[in-house]
């Protein structure tokens, strides 16, 4: 009876995952979709704890104190971390949680293998019979570990503790590490008695995960996180194979497939191929960077009152928000400026680059938080049309997404990425904290153009001062 109810629980959970994911891809139903999937997950977890029985021995699960202790700790820490995290840090949080899932899958593989190895040495099972199981264990271990190590590096890169790092021949070294890892895995499958290999594979897979993400530039982290996300899905599905557990299988494969497609969609939004992101990485030793770091001429600064004057008497002002806006938490100040200028009859719009900030959609989330209305947010193609009729473009802490080098400099690491063509507007005001290059680490020719003026300072402070100035005009 119990086991049949559990089957039903898993069935419900699988359906909620599919429907939830479907609802998540539509703005109107997204939130309910997320809650639905969470509800299904709850059913699956509670059902497993109380109803699961081992299909050989028929025993229920034990060690309840441990299980509930783990759930409680994980639940409390997870909720707090997710509630407390700042909007700007959400991308890294997703990466961190993804890594946790990967680590969980890898640990499952380790424990299961030890379990098998014990039975094997006791002679209760033959090496031949467990080969397919070992294959699944090894796959889960490799994928889970790569996902964990990679996610941790991606997390570190997004919060700035890990710097980009690459050296010549790194791609080849990576391939060698991967080949050795897979080779060791294959050997373990053929001869499961070589249990020491398990830890070798674990170590190699972790190293590979680190080296895999290390040379990829910070600007590409969203794509990498999405890819690792689908890896973890596959690792979870390996667990489903091991326990013949349908909900782990459906959930894992579903995420694996959807995650892979999402990764490709993200690449498309940047007009690049996945291969280009992973291998043609934003290296520090490319010719484009060297030539871009030279003198580019002079830039000019603009005073707050001049900037306020320009905007007050403009017909149309467009804002290009970027990571700087997110860091300074300036979205409310920005909305304030929109209202004040709106009262003066100035048309005020936002031009949103699909990958502005640290994640696709990052800016939409931020501005929505500040009650900016949806109609004022222009997608890249529409924005590029409107710049032509725009008097003032205010670039708020965005850099690489407005860098004309992406269009004209074939040697530039961001060459080929579609950008917001702000230079077709009459005037461009760029707010930045300093002249330091953006996340891709390259100079931006836009800042040295005659129609561009720089307005240095923290985005929030500058916007608040601008509001005050505009009011007094």
């Amino acid at each position: 009876m119990g086991i049949n109810i559990l089957t039903l629980c898993y069935l419900i959970a699988s359906v909620t995952f599919i429907v939830g994911l479907k609802m998540l891809s539509n703005p109107a139903s997204a939130r309910r979709g997320n809650l639905l999937a969470a509800f299904g997950m709850g059913i699956a977890i509670v059902g497993t704890i109380f109803l699961y029985t081992n299909h050989e021995t028929g025993e229920h699960l034990g060690n309840y104190p441990w299980i509930f202790g783990g759930l409680l700790i994980g639940g409390i820490v997870g909720t707090l971390a997710a509630k407390k995290v700042k909007m700007t840090a959400m991308p890294e949080m997703v990466s961190m949680f993804n890594g946790m899932g990967g680590a969980c899958a890898a640990l499952i593989s380790v424990v299961e293998f030890n379990h098998l190895a014990k039975e094997l040495s006791a002679g209760t099972i033959s090496a031949d019979a467990i080969q397919p199981t070992v294959l699944i264990i090894v796959l889960g271990l490799i994928i889970g570990s790569v996902s964990f190590a990679g996610s941790m590096i991606a997390w570190g890169k997004l919060n700035g503790t890990v710097k980009d790092f690459s050296f010549t021949g790194q791609n080849i070294l990576n391939l060698i590490i991967l080949a050795v890892t897979l080779g060791a895995g294959a050997y373990l499958v053929v001869d499961p008695t070589q249990s020491f290999l398990l830890y070798t594979i674990l170590a190699l897979a972790l190293v590979y995960g680190v080296f895999f993400v290390m040379p990829i530039g910070g600007a590409d982290m969203p794509v990498v996180i999405s890819l690792l996300n689908s890896f973890t899905g596959v690792a979870a599905a390996c667990g489903g194979f091991l326990y013949d557990n349908k909900v782990m299988l459906t959930g894992g494969i579903l995420v694996g497939a959807a995650g892979t497609l999402l990764t490709i969609l993200m690449c498309k939004a940047m007009n690049r191929s996945l291969q280009n992101v992973l291998i043609g990485s934003f290296g520090g030793n490319r010719a484009g960077t060297a030539s871009g770091s030279g003198e580019q001429g002079h830039y000019k600064e603009i005073s707050l009152s001049d900037a306020a004057m320009l905007m007050s008497f403009a017909n149309k002002v467009m804002v290009v928000p970027g990571y700087g806006l997110a860091v300074a938490q300036a979205q409310h100040a920005c909305h304030e400026l929109e209202k004040i200028l709106g009262e003066k009859g100035v048309e005020f719009k936002y031009a949103i680059h699909p990958v502005a900030g640290r994640m696709p959609g990052h800016m939409n989330v931020l501005l929505a938080e500040a009650d900016v209305s949806y109609e004022k947010l222009l997608e890249m193609e529409d924005a590029n049309d409107e710049f032509k009729t725009c008097d003032v473009v205010l670039v708020l802490g965005a850099n690489d997404v407005v860098n004309p080098a992406a269009k004209i400099d074939a040697a530039s690491p961001i060459y080929g990425m579609p950008i917001l063509e702000v230079e077709s507007a009459k005037t461009v005001i760029v707010n930045k904290r300093s002249m330091k290059p953006g996340y891709a680490g390259i100079e931006n020719g836009l800042f040295f153009q005659p129609k561009t003026s720089m307005l240095f300072g923290d985005a929030k402070k500058v916007l608040q001062d601008l509001c005050a100035e505009v009011k007094s005009v």
Binding site: A38, I45, G239
Partner: protein, 102 residues
């Protein structure tokens, strides 16, 4: 070789599920607007936290004197739960902001 074939036969149900799920996964998010890329990724991230079920099973089946399995299993439950709970809460927070503009 024969092992593998036998294994495929005895697990054909699972293999069918895998193949169908791959298509479902691709179909389900095929038309997502770029605004929702991040929340969708985050939501998918929470869903693969289903791996915690494997961790719970390990934990529940570990012999009480097998400390290695207990400790690793416990760690796996904690990490898996972090993935699930954190993932859903973060996604909800992101989507909360989308809702306001209505």
């Amino acid at each position: 070789m024969e092992n593998i074939l036998n294994w495929i036969t005895s697990n054909q149900q699972i293999i069918y599920i895998v193949i169908l799920m791959i298509f479902v996964g691709i179909e389900v998010i095929g038309r997502v607007p770029s605004v929702l890329h991040t929340p969708l990724m985050s939501g998918a991230n929470a869903i693969h936290g289903v791996v915690v079920i494997g961790a719970i099973i390990i934990m529940g089946q570990a012999e009480t004197d097998n400390y290695l399995a207990l400790i690793l299993g416990f760690l796996a439950v904690v990490l898996g739960t972090l993935n699930v709970v954190g993932g859903f809460v973060v996604t909800d927070r992101m989507l909360e902001m989308f809702k306001k503009k209505k």
